[in-house]
C-alpha cells in the first residue's frame, strides 16, 4: 500500500551493491531479517580495509609515536603522520600542519571555543549559530557565553528546515566574533550554504567554524575553496573508528591559539620556571594520541578517496527521495525537514505512534534507525516535536534498504494504526 513502486526513479547507477561486500557488518540478520542499516548519521559501518589496518597496526607496528628511535616507533609514527597527509589532501587543506587530531567533532569544537575564542572573548561579544545545530555546536559556545558574559545569537530556519540567510546576515554585527554552523544538519539533512555564510561572515571580518561531521562522507568538501577558518569532523561517521576526529584550522588562526591541554608531546621545553610549546599541530595533541584510531581514520579516508563523492551525494539523495515518496503515502506520517537538495537524512513522526514505538517495531523488522531528539533539542522544538525517527543513508545503502524501511513502516501502521 505504501511501497515506492516502479514509477519512482531508480537510485542511479552508483554501485552501492558492490561496496557492500567491503562492509562485513552489513552482512547479517537481525531479528531474523536481513539488516537494513539506516542509522548512518549516528555512526557508519567500517570497511574491511579500516578493520584490517587497525588490526595490522596492533599486530605488527604497535609503538608510541614521535618518541623512540626504534623500528616499531618509526613505523607507528610514519603511519600516524601519513594519516595526517591523507586527511590534509582529502579536505584540501593547504598544509599538513593545519590538521589537528582530536577525539572527534565535539572535542574539536571545544578546542576552538576554549583555545581560540575564550582568550579573546569579551562581555557583550556575540556568537552566531543556526537554529538546527547539533548540541555539540551549541553547548560549547553557550558555556563560553555564560562564563564571559557573551551572547549566543540564533539564525532561524523556515518550515522546510532551510536557513534564513537574510536573518543570519542581520545577526552578523560589530560584536560578532564567531559564526558556527553545521554544513549538513544531523537532524534534518539540510545542507547549509556554507560558502555563502563564510563569504558573508568574512565580509564582516568574522571567522567561521564549519561542523562537517555530517558532510565529509556524503558530499565533496574542499576547505580551501570554502575558505573555512575552522572545519571539524569525526572519523566514525566517515567509515573510520570511534574516538578520533579532525580539527582543521587556518594556520594563522591555529598559531594564534593557546593549547587547552598540557602534557607530553605538546611541549618544546619544560622547566619549573615555565614551558614552551611544540609547533603546530603538536601543541594541540597532548599525551599519547589515539594512534590506532588515527591510522584507521587514514584508511577510511583512502576508502573515501576511492569514491566519487558527487555520485555518493546523488545516490543517497535519490534513496531518500524514493523513501519519502513511499512515506508520503502512509496516513499520519509527517516528514520533518524538507529542504531542497538535502542529504540522505529523513526525520519523521507518525500520528499513531511515538518515535520509540516506530524504532522498536522497525528493529523487529531488521531496520536500524535512530529515535529521539538527535542531540538537537532546539531543532525539535522548532518543529514542535519532542522526538523523531530518523533514517539516514550512506553510500552502501540500496533500494532494498528503502523497501525494508517502507515495509517496516507498514507494519507500524498495522500494529498501531
Amino acid at each position: 500500500m505504501s511501497r515506492a513502486e516502479a514509477d519512482i526513479p531508480v537510485a542511479t547507477a552508483f554501485s552501492a551493491q558492490a561496496l557492500r561486500a567491503q562492509f562485513p557488518a552489513l552482512d547479517q540478520q537481525v531479528n531474523g531479517k536481513p539488516l537494513a542499516y539506516l542509522d548512518n548519521a549516528a555512526t557508519t559501518q567500517k570497511p574491511r580495509a579500516v578493520i584490517d589496518r587497525i588490526s595490522d597496526y596492533y599486530a605488527r607496528d604497535n609503538a608510541n609515536v614521535h618518541r623512540a628511535i626504534h623500528e616499531l616507533s618509526r613505523r607507528a609514527t610514519e603511519a600516524y603522520e601519513g594519516a595526517r597527509d591523507t586527511l590534509a589532501r582529502f579536505i584540501g587543506a593547504g598544509r599538513r600542519e593545519e590538521i589537528v587530531f582530536t577525539r572527534g567533532t565535539t572535542d574539536a569544537i571545544n578546542l576552538v571555543a576554549q583555545g581560540y575564542l575564550a582568550p579573546r572573548l569579551k562581555a557583550g561579544d556575540e556568537i552566531v549559530v543556526s537554529e538546527i545545530e547539533h548540541h555539540s555546536n551549541i553547548v560549547p559556545w553557550q558555556m563560553l557565553c555564560e562564563s564571559h558574559g557573551a551572547i549566543l545569537r540564533v539564525a532561524p530556519v523556515d518550515d522546510r528546515g532551510v536557513l534564513d540567510l537574510a536573518a543570519l546576515q542581520r545577526l552578523i554585527g560589530p560584536r560578532t566574533v564567531m559564526v558556527a554552523v553545521g554544513q549538513v544538519s544531523n537532524a534534518l539533512g539540510t545542507v547549509h550554504p556554507v560558502q555563502q555564510i563564510i563569504d558573508m561572515a568574512h565580509a564582516a571580518d568574522v571567522p567561521v567554524l564549519v561542523d562537517g561531521a555530517q558532510s565529509v562522507s556524503h558530499l565533496p568538501v574542499d576547505v580551501s575553496t570554502l575558505n573555512a577558518d575552522f572545519f571539524c569532523f569525526s572519523a566514525h561517521k566517515m567509515f573510520g573508528p570511534t574516538g578520533t576526529g579532525v580539527l582543521y584550522g587556518r594556520e594563522a588562526l591555529l598559531d594564534s591559539m593557546s593549547p587547552v591541554q598540557g602534557g607530553g608531546d605538546m611541549i618544546e621545553t619544560v622547566s619549573f620556571q615555565g614551558s614552551t610549546w611544540n609547533s603546530l599541530p603538536y601543541k594541540f595533541e597532548a599525551g599519547t594520541p589515539n594512534i590506532a584510531g588515527v591510522i584507521g581514520m587514514g584508511a577510511a579516508t583512502e576508502f573515501l578517496e576511492g569514491l566519487d563523492l558527487e555520485a555518493v551525494y546523488r545516490h543517497e539523495h535519490a534513496l531518500a527521495e524514493r523513501a519519502e515518496a513511499g512515506m508520503r503515502a502512509i496516513p499520519g506520517l509527517r516528514i520533518i525537514g524538507e529542504a531542497p537538495g538535502k542529504t540522505g537524512i529523513i526525520s519523521f513522526v507518525m500520528q499513531t505512534a511515538h518515535a520509540q514505538d516506530v524504532g522498536t517495531i522497525l528493529d523487529q523488522m531488521g531496520v536500524a534507525t535512530r529515535t529521539g531528539h538527535h542531540c538537537a533539542m532546539p531543532a525539535m522544538a522548532r518543529f514542535g516535536v519532542p522526538a523523531t525517527t530518523r533514517a539516514s543513508f550512506a553510500c552502501y545503502n540500496t533500494e532494498a534498504d528503502v523497501d525494508a524501511l517502507l515495509a517496516g513502516l507498514d507494519k507500524v501502521s498495522s500494529l498501531l494504526g
Binding site: A353, D357, D363, Q364, G372, L415, L416
Partner: protein, 139 residues
Amino acid sequence: MDPQVETLRDTFEMLPDWEERYRFIIDQGKKLEPLPEDAYADEHKVRGCMSQVWLIAKSGDDDQMIFLGDSDAHIVRGLIAILLMIFSGKTAREIVDTDIQAIFEDLQLEQHITMNRRNGLYSMVETIQRLANARLAGD
C-alpha cells in the same frame, strides 16, 4: 510462582510470533486505568526512558500498594501494564523482595521483546521498588 506471573507466562507462550506478542503488550497498555490529571507532573516522571513515563503509587486495602502509570509510547504503556500486573496490589515488603530479574526470566521476556535498555523497563522497576522502600521507611 506468583499466579499473575504464571498467567502471563502462559499467555506469552501461546502467542506465536513477535508481532502477536507486541500486539498483546500494546493491547494491555490500552486497558490501563487512566492517571488523574495532576499525576502528569515532573515529580512523577520516570527518568531514563526515551518516551515520557509517569508512575504513581496509592494505598489499597491491607497495606497493599496500587500503582498507576502512563506513557506517550504504546509499547512502553504496554510494558507498564505488564509491570503493574506483577507489582500492583502487593505489599511494600513483597514488592521490595520481588526478584524481577527472575520473573523476567520466567516470562522469557528477553526472547519475547527487545529488551533495549532505553525502553525504560528497568527504570520503571527501580521507581516502583523505590516507592515501596519509601513506604517501608514510613514515608
